[in-house]
């Protein structure tokens, strides 16, 4: 019963943040700010939907003691770690590639990287 509520709350948080990511992708002005919305809000959303899977696997294992649910939970933990690491590395690579190919942050109060001449 508690587990069901926990799963619903996790799914709700995940969907809300995924939705905010989509809205931010449309609202923000340039590539860098859009990347904040797209990659970050989406990661938080995906992490919480994965937490829902882990909660489901844990609760079902306590009910049935079927060891395949341990496998499900652990594989989801591995998926969350892979998601976090690849998201960080790829959004850094995208931002660096955009700046090196001459796309400057369009509304910006300061750009130290351009001043450093890189």
């Amino acid at each position: 019963m508690i587990a069901e509520w926990l799963i619903l709350v996790f799914l709700g948080i995940g969907i809300v943040f995924n939705t905010l990511g989509v809205i931010g992708l449309h609202r923000f002005p340039d590539v860098y700010t859009r990347m904040h919305a797209a990659t970050k809000a989406t990661t938080f959303g995906s992490v919480f939907t994965s937490f829902a899977v882990i909660a489901y696997a844990g609760a079902t294992y306590l009910h049935t003691t079927d060891s395949q649910f341990i496998t499900l939970g652990l594989h989801t933990v591995v998926a969350v770690l892979a998601l976090a690491l690849t998201n960080a590395v790829s959004s850094h690579a995208l931002a660096r590639a955009a700046h090196r190919s001459g796309i400057m942050p369009a509304p910006s109060v300061v750009d130290r990287l351009k001043e450093a001449g890189r």
């Binding site: 609202r27 700010t33 938080f44 395949q68 652990l74 931002a95 910006s108 109060v109 990287l113 450093a116």
Partner: protein
Amino acid sequence: MIPFILTFLFSLFIYLVLTAGSGDVGLWSVSELIAGVALSLLTAAIARKFLCRGENYRMANPVRLILIPVYIIGPFFLEVIRANLDVAYRVITGRIRPGIIRVSSGLQTDLGIFMLANSITLTPGTITVDIDESTQDLFIHNINIHPGDEGKQVIPARDLFAFSDLATWIRRIAE
């Protein structure tokens, strides 16, 4: 010999995590355990010079390994939640002051810089765009620069975070 043992233990650990729940010796079946040991020996023989390239074994210290999950679940996750709510507020209201700032990390090793750069990128509202490798400074695109910060040449890393100084945590783990 030490790189061989460390690579063996690391790959055996990954194999055991991925196959947990397969049988009844602990959580694993006998055939999975035998296959895991054999494959880890093979992996260690091939890849021992890759994982321990630096000839520096400080990361084999169990205290540092335990501090990594403590860091991720504790201060880092708290910071990510706060920053996510902040970015959600900026998505809805559209109040942004974007810009690229220069942040001094105070870290020396490659692993420390890697962890700090990835922590900053995963925290919503900040992306590490580039690294100055001569001074170990990070160039960070921030979605909302505090008024007054755009005049400073270099900003210390602790000013980026609201609750805890993640750079100090990473120095404790990786250096």
